[in-house]
């Protein structure tokens, strides 16, 4: 490696490791985000307490109760004598759901399911109750599909996610956000900082070439972003059991491409913005906010009005998330994610060419 570029890279690392706030930004944020999304903002629920009114006392009801307890979501089964007793239990929050097994279930199930198992849920919290209902239905249908009651098998099945485990579904989104934050925002800030300090002039008057300045300044963020990507993947694997179904090499290529794209956006911002504060606001408002809201990370794209869907399609994070999910969760190969991959590649080239062009004209005024 060229000695001048190497000097710049070393200097940039010194800046980063000396400034504790920058260091926190880089390694603290992914950690906090992944733990936050993983443990706090969970979209699924555990420790569900179930009340059971069992009028049959037969094998089927017994098995279903055991199966509920065997899953990770249900923690307690409380036997309830009369349906009317449930009211108090609901009010005191001692149960979240009441399952009623009707008479002669075992005999009935040979014919049909309807009517013999009733589920009562707390309608005051519809979102949570809907989820509990889904879990319960899944467990019950799973039971019937295994048992010998071929006629009444309800078709409940979650594709790619048999365990109903949705915690790791947020990993691609967090990754998209964190990499964008470090690569684009930090790059934009560090480059505008040199501009603000007038040290940029100092560098440009030296024999170092403008392109070398960019490479030297940006390489540390490339390295740190990749390290961060690995950190997030590691945490997702250990804490949330993210399955790595596809090729790891392809996954690496996707992450690298996305990081390069974010870096070129960062360089572009630094050309447009003259001060660090402008660069930061620009990154936050134009990049991070829409990425969070429009990339499909939190809100489903299909439910958006069409103008927002249009904006969503120019969010790099959207295509990154599709690639990531395709490879890691669905186990697709390059052909399966070709379209989003090519879109990311196109965006990268677009921003690289644009920033180099703007950069050169920028130096002349």
């Amino acid at each position: 490696m060229n000695r001048r570029v190497w000097g710049l890279i070393k200097k940039e690392f010194t800046h980063i490791f000396r400034d504790k706030r920058t260091l926190f930004m880089i390694f603290g944020i992914p950690l906090v985000e992944i733990l936050l999304f993983g443990f706090v903002i969970r979209t699924d629920i555990s420790n569900i307490k179930v009340g059971v009114v069992d009028m049959t006392q037969d094998q089927v009801s017994h098995d279903i109760c055991n199966k509920l307890l065997g899953s990770t979501y249900f923690s307690e089964i409380i036997s309830v004598d009369k349906i009317s007793d449930a009211d108090l239990l609901f009010r005191e929050n001692r149960i979240h759901e009441l399952i009623i097994f009707g008479k002669e279930l075992e005999k009935e199930t040979t014919n049909r399911l309807g009517g013999e198992i009733s589920i009562i849920l707390d309608g005051s919290n519809p979102t949570v109750s809907q989820l509990i209902l889904n879990y319960t239905n899944a467990v019950i249908s799973d039971y019937f599909s295994l048992a010998d009651y071929k006629d009444i098998v309800p078709q409940y099945r979650m594709v790619y996610n048999e365990e109903l485990n949705s915690t790791y579904m947020f990993v691609p989104g967090v990754m998209a956000l964190v990499l964008l934050l470090i690569s684009a925002m930090m790059t934009a800030i560090t480059l505008t900082k040199e501009k603000e300090n007038h040290s940029f002039e100092m560098l440009l008057i030296s024999p170092i070439r403008p392109l070398e300045v960019i490479i030297g300044k940006v390489t540390p963020y490339l390295v740190l972003s990749l390290a961060n990507g690995v950190l997030i993947l590691f945490l997702s694997k250990v804490l949330f059991g993210l399955p790595f179904l596809g090729s790891n090499l392809l996954l690496f290529a996707i992450i690298l491409l996305y990081v390069l794209l974010s870096l070129s956006i960062g360089i572009f911002i630094s050309v447009v913005a003259d001060t660090q504060i402008v660069a930061m606001l620009f990154s936050l408002v134009v990049l991070l906010m829409p990425t969070m809201l429009l990339s499909g990370f939190i809100f489903p794209i299909a439910n958006m009005p069409w103008p927002l869907q249009l904006i969503s399609s120019i969010m790099p994070a959207r295509w990154f998330i599709i690639c990531f999910k395709g490879v890691v969760i669905q186990g697709l190969g390059i052909v399966g994610v070709l379209k989003p991959f090519l879109i990311l590649l196109g965006m990268t080239l677009f921003f690289m060419i644009l920033s180099v062009k703007r950069y050169n004209t920028h130096l002349d005024d």
């Binding site: 400034d19 040290s199 002039e201 030296s206």
Partner: protein, 248 residues
């Protein structure tokens, strides 16, 4: 054909013109800088000093006119010019969050000095400046005078032929300015040509020759003593006021 004869002038500017849109930052500038002299470049803010200096140091290209630095042409040989010049500005001197040694290593590095050279030269410079004991301290923690000395030494660490100083003593107290000028003289004694812009008219008196710009044009050019006689004033300060008034 390029003449290989040792040229007595290290900077030759003739009919330099730089336009930004319809605005002329420099209108037909012509002047020369002699080898080994201290050349003062004066002018009010917006007179075109910075633009001319950027052009001469290869940072921007002129709209028209001829500019040669050490026989290199700024249009085509800016990269060669950059290797033989040094630059220091009051706006930026050193990275505050890096230590004395880290700053030294970085600036020596971007001028292409080898690791061994950096070590040898660095030690020599820091001992000479009495900063060796402080090499591990962050630049933000050392006094302004030391920073100034260090910044100048780093601007000349690669033994440039010409060093450009852009208002190097702005915002500095008189004692530090005095010490700084001693350093400039030391560099001159080593054969380095000094091109300095300044706001302080007393500093202009220290220069061998000066050039005063106003609204993108040269209004006075020559040795301070000669100019004072010519315009019948006692100091460059008075001359500057006189010329500035003429413009209005």
């Amino acid at each position: 054909m390029k003449k290989k004869v040792q040229n007595n002038y290290v900077i030759e500017v003739s009919n330099l013109c730089k336009k930004f849109g319809a605005f002329y930052a420099n209108k037909i500038l012509s002047f020369d800088v002699k080898r080994g002299e201290i050349f003062g470049f004066l002018g009010a803010n917006g007179a075109g000093k910075t633009t001319a200096m950027k052009i001469i140091s290869g940072l921007q290209s002129p709209t028209s006119g001829e500019v040669n630095v050490l026989d290199y042409d700024v249009y085509h040989e800016a990269e060669k010019i950059k290797k033989v010049i040094g630059y220091m500005s009051q706006k930026f001197s050193l990275y505050e969050d890096l230590s004395v040694w880290e700053n030294l290593r970085f600036f020596a590095g971007i001028y292409g000095l080898s690791r061994k050279m950096i070590k040898e030269k660095g030690e020599k410079i820091l001992h000479h400046l009495d900063l060796w004991e402080h090499r591990k301290e962050l630049v933000r923690d050392i006094p302004l005078g030391w920073k100034q000395k260090l910044a100048f030494s780093l601007a000349t660490i690669h033994d440039p032929k010409i060093v450009f100083l852009d208002e190097p003593t702005g915002g500095v107290d008189p004692y530090v300015r005095r010490v700084f000028w001693d350093q400039i003289y030391q560099a001159q004694a080593k054969g380095i040509t000094i091109f300095v812009t300044t706001h302080y008219m007393d500093e202009a008196e220290y220069c061998d020759r000066i050039c005063i710009l106003s609204q993108g044009e040269v209004v006075a050019y020559g040795a301070p003593e000669k100019l004072k006689k010519e315009y019948q004033v006692d100091s460059i300060d008075q001359l500057f006021v006189l010329l500035a008034r003429n413009v209005e």
